[in-house]
C-alpha cells in the first residue's frame, strides 16, 4: 500500500510502510549508507506528516519485513495483545504522540499498554518526537527487574561496572572492579567483556567475579559477556553463571549473523533459571543492541536502522531480561556520524525500549573516528538521567582499554546521580553504607584488596 503527502506543491509518494518509516527518520549516516534516507528535508517532513496521519492499526496489517521470511516479525505479530492495544487502537501515530505526552498516559496506563504495542508503532511515534518528547514520555515509564537486587525503582540510577582487561588478566579485572566499587558502581551488574571468547577464559573470569562478589558480600550480579553458546558450555561445566548475555538484533538474519536464534536464547534462559542463583527474582538475561547492526550484517531488508533497533527490543522482551542496553555510539560514524546523531539515537532507543517494557540502559559512548567527544557524552548522559534511564556503564576513566572506545566513567555516574538526586539500587546503597565506602582516597578495612587476591 502506498502513502503520500504534499509539501510545498510537491507530492511525495512512499510505496510501502518500511519506506515511509525510513524517509520519516531524522537524518543519520547509516540510513544514507543503506540508501533509505529521505533525499531532502521536504521529503522527510512529507513522510513525517504522512506517518502522523497513519492509523496505528495499520502496523498490524502491513509488516516491514514479511511474516513468512522473518521470525522476529512472527514473534511481534503472534505475541500482539489486542485487548491491551484497545485503549489506543483508534488513534493515528500523531494522535498517539499527543496521548503519550498527556496526563492520561500515566505510568500505570503505559505499563498496561505494553503488550499491545509493536516495535514499529513505538519507532514510528519516536520519529515525530523532539528530544524533549523522548524524555518526557520515557520518564513516565516504570520497569522494575530483580535478581539479587532491585533495578529500576523510581529515583534510582544503576551502573554496570565494566572492568575489561586487554589480556583477560584476572588481577587487572579485579583492580578495575575494586576501583569501581569504591566509586559506587556495580549495582546493575559487574560485567566483563572477554577479550578472547572461549570457555576456559569465560569460566576463569566467572570464577573471579563470583569470588569478588562473595568475599565482599555485594548484593549484585555478575556476568561475562561471552557468546551465548560459550555461556551454555560454562553452565554445563558448573561455572557460576548469574546472567546469560547475548548481542541481539531486529531481524532473523542479523541474529543468524550473531550465531543465535530465538530457540537458542530460550534454551539459554532455561539453563540459567535452573541454576536458581537469583535471591530476589528470576530475570536472568542481559541483552545488548545497537542501531546499525543489521545493515552491518547486510540483514536490514531496506528497513531504517532505528525501526530495526526497536524490533530487537521485541526479541529482548520475550525473555524477561534483567538488563538491556543499546551500545549507541560504538558502531562508528558510518551509522551515527556525530554527537548530534548519537544523542538523539540514545534517547530514541531508551524511549522505545521503555515503552515496550524493557529495563533499558544505554552505553553512552563513542569511538575515535566519530565526530564526538566528552561534552557530547555529558549531554547525553544528563538527558538520559532526566529521562529516567535504568542504568549506564561505568568504565575506569571512561577509557575501555580492551574494546578501545570511550564510555561513561565511574565518576560520570556519581556526577549524574548527584545532579539529579538519584540513588543506586536500594540493596546496593545499603551495602555501600555498611562497607563505609565514601570519598576518602584509601580502602575501607572492609574492602581490603588482599581479600580478592590483590596482595
Amino acid at each position: 500500500m502506498a502513502y503520500a503527502h504534499t509539501v510545498g506543491g510537491t507530492r511525495y509518494v512512499f510505496p510501502d510502510l518500511r519506506t515511509l518509516l525510513a524517509r520519516a527518520s531524522p537524518f543519520r549516516s547509516g540510513d544514507a549508507l543503506a540508501g533509505v534516507a529521505a533525499a531532502s528535508a521536504a521529503e522527510r517532513i512529507a513522510a513525517q506528516r504522512a506517518l502522523a496521519d497513519l492509523p496505528l492499526r495499520r502496523f498490524l496489517d502491513e509488516a516491514v519485513i514479511p511474516y513468512e521470511i522473518d521470525d522476529v516479525t512472527r514473534l511481534i505479530l503472534d505475541a500482539h495483545d489486542a485487548s491491551a492495544f484497545a485503549p489506543v487502537a483508534h488513534l493515528t501515530v500523531g494522535q498517539f504522540r499527543d496521548w503519550l505526552l498527556s496526563d492520561a498516559a500515566s505510568s500505570e496506563a503505559l505499563a498496561a499498554l505494553r503488550p499491545g504495542l509493536t516495535p514499529e508503532m513505538v519507532a514510528a511515534v519516536s520519529k515525530i518526537m523532539r528530544i524533549a518528547d523522548l524524555i518526557a514520555v520515557a520518564a513516565k515509564c516504570r520497569v522494575v527487574t530483580r535478581f539479587r537486587n532491585t533495578i529500576g525503582l523510581p529515583g534510582t540510577l544503576s551502573v554496570r561496572l565494566q572492568p575489561n582487561d586487554p589480556a583477560d588478566d584476572p588481577r587487572g579485572v579485579a583492580a578495575s572492579t575494586l576501583d569501581g566499587l569504591l566509586l559506587g558502581a556495580g549495582d546493575a551488574v559487574i560485567g566483563v567483556n572477554p577479550a578472547t571468547d572461549n570457555v576456559e577464559t569465560t569460566i576463569r573470569l566467572l570464577d573471579l567475579l563470583d569470588m569478588v562478589r562473595d568475599r565482599y558480600a555485594i548484593p549484585t550480579q555478575t556476568c561475562v559477556l561471552a557468546h551465548v553458546t560459550t555461556t551454555l558450555a560454562a553452565i554445563a561445566r558448573g561455572a557460576p553463571v548469574d546472567l546469560v548475555f547475548q548481542s541481539i538484533g531486529g531481524t532473523e538474519a542479523v541474529n543468524r549473523s550473531f550465531g543465535v536464534s530465538l530457540a537458542l536464547l530460550a534454551e539459554a534462559r532455561t539453563a540459567a533459571l535452573a541454576l536458581k542463583r537469583g535471591t530476589l527474582g528470576d530475570n536472568v538475561m542481559y541483552f545488548e543492541t545497537g542501531q546499525g547492526s543489521a545493515l552491518s550484517a547486510d540483514a536490514h531488508h531496506g528497513v531504517d536502522q532505528q525501526t530495526l533497533e526497536a524490533r530487537a527490543y521485541a526479541v529482548a522482551r520475550a525473555f524477561q531480561p534483567l538488563l538491556v542496553n543499546s551500545v549507541v555510539g560504538f558502531i562508528g560514524p558510518e551509522y551515527l556520524y556525530d554527537g548530534k546523531q548519537i544523542i538523539r539515537a540514545g534517547l530514541e532507543d531508551h524511549l522505545c525500549g521503555k515503552l515496550l517494557g524493557l529495563p533499558m540502559g544505554v552505553d553512552v559512548c563513542y569511538t575515535n573516528h566519530a565526530e564526538a567527544d566528552q561534552d557530547d557524552m555529558d549531554a547525553l548522559l544528563t538527558l538520559l538521567g532526566v529521562a529516567g534511564v535504568t542504568y549506564v556503564m561505568g568504565v575506569p576513566g571512561a577509557d575501555d582499554v580492551m574494546l578501545n572506545y570511550q564510555s561513561t566513567s565511574f565518576h560520570d555516574a556519581l556526577a549524574v546521580r548527584a545532579a539529579l538526586g538519584k540513588s543506586p539500587a536500594p540493596e546496593f546503597a545499603a551495602w555501600l553504607e555498611r562497607m563505609g565506602i565514601g570519598t576518602e582516597a584509601t580502602f575501607p578495612p572492609t574492602l581490603s584488596p588482599a581479600l580478592i587476591g590483590l596482595g
Binding site: S29, A32, L33, P163, N164, D165, P166, D169, R171, G172, V173, A174, A175, S176, L178, D179, L182, L183, A195, T196, P333, E334, Y337, T367, N368, H369, D373, Q374, V395, P396, G397, A398, D399, V401, N404, Y405, Q406, S409, H411, L414, A415, A418, T439, E440, A441, T442, F443, P445, S448, P449, L454
Partner: protein, 246 residues
C-alpha cells in the same frame, strides 16, 4: 590499615585510582584524557606521506605503486565504507598482472600515523623471514582512503596468490598508532573477514616487529601448504597465540 588507592595501578593499564575533585576527575587526570583523545583524533585525520613511505619501501628493495580508493576524502571515507573498499578506476589501470606469491598492500586505514611509523621497520623484519621460506613478497601497493577489503581488488588485479594488507587500526586512547595486518589467500572482491587471518596491534609497545614478523612467516607457510586463510587456519604454534583483534 589505610592503604592508598594508587596501588591498584600495578595491576592494570586501565585508568584506575584517578582521585576525585568532587564527583569529577582532578585536573591532571582530566587533561591526560583530553590529550590522549587529541592524539587519536589527529591520527584518524592524518594524511599519509606517500612519497616518503614509497622511498622507504624502495630502499627495502620493493617495487612500489601508489593507488587510491573511490573515497575522495576523509569525510567520505568515514561515512562510505563501501567506497573505501573499491579501487579508483585510474588507479586500477596502473596495476598490471604479475602473478606474485604475496602482494603487499599498505593502506592508511584509520591511522596514517601507524602506517607511517611502523610499516618499514616491520617489513625490514618480515621480508627476510619470508625469503627464508621461499616467498618473495611484493610488489608493494600504497593505497590511500583504503579499507581492508581494498586489498582484495588490488590482489585480484595483480593476479596475486595471496595478499597481506598492512593498515592503520582504529586509534584507541592508549595507542593512536596500532598497525594491523590482514592475510587473505586467493584475494578477489567479495571475500569476507572470516576468510582472513589478522595480526593486530603491531607496534613496539604492543606486538613488537620481530614477533609479528615471526607470526606472519608462520601463517604464510601454513597458508601456502593448506591453500587457505581464515577461521580454518588457526595459529597452532605451541607457544604464543594470535592476539585478539583490537
Amino acid at each position: 590499615m589505610a592503604e592508598p588507592l594508587a596501588r591498584l595501578r600495578r595491576f592494570t593499564t586501565a585508568r584506575v585510582a584517578l582521585g576525585r575533585a568532587g564527583n569529577a576527575l582532578p585536573t591532571a587526570a582530566h587533561l591526560d584524557f583530553v590529550e590522549a583523545h587529541a592524539m587519536a583524533r589527529d591520527a584518524v585525520h592524518a594524511t599519509l606521506d606517500v612519497d616518503a613511505l614509497a622511498a622507504e619501501l624502495a630502499a627495502l628493495g620493493l617495487p612500489v605503486t601508489a593507488v587510491r580508493s573511490r573515497a575522495p576524502d576523509r569525510h567520505t571515507y568515514l561515512v562510505r565504507p563501501d567506497l573505501g573498499r573499491t579501487l579508483d578506476a585510474a588507479a586500477a589501470a596502473r596495476l598490471t598482472r604479475s602473478d606474485p606469491a604475496l602482494a603487499l598492500v599498505i593502506a592508511d586505514g584509520l591511522s596514517a600515523t601507524a602506517v607511517q611509523r611502523h610499516t618499514a621497520p616491520f617489513l625490514a623484519e618480515a621480508l627476510p623471514r619470508l625469503a627464508r621460506i621461499g616467498v618473495a613478497a611484493g610488489p608493494a601497493v600504497i593505497a590511500v582512503q583504503a579499507r581492508v577489503a581494498l586489498g582484495d581488488a588490488i590482489g585480484a588485479r595483480l593476479g596475486a596468490e595471496a595478499v597481506a594488507v598492512l593498515i592503520g587500526e582504529r586509534p584507541g586512547l592508549s595507542a593512536p598508532d596500532s598497525l594491523g595486518l590482514y592475510l587473505t589467500w586467493n584475494p578477489r572482491p567479495g571475500r569476507t573477514d572470516a576468510e582472513r587471518n589478522c595480526i593486530s596491534n603491531i607496534r613496539p609497545a604492543g606486538q613488537p616487529y620481530a614477533a609479528a614478523a615471526d607470526t606472519l612467516a608462520w601463517l604464510v607457510g601454513e597458508m601456502r601448504r593448506r591453500r587457505l586463510t581464515g577461521v580454518a587456519l588457526k595459529d597452532e604454534r605451541p607457544t604464543g597465540a594470535l592476539p585478539a583483534p583490537a
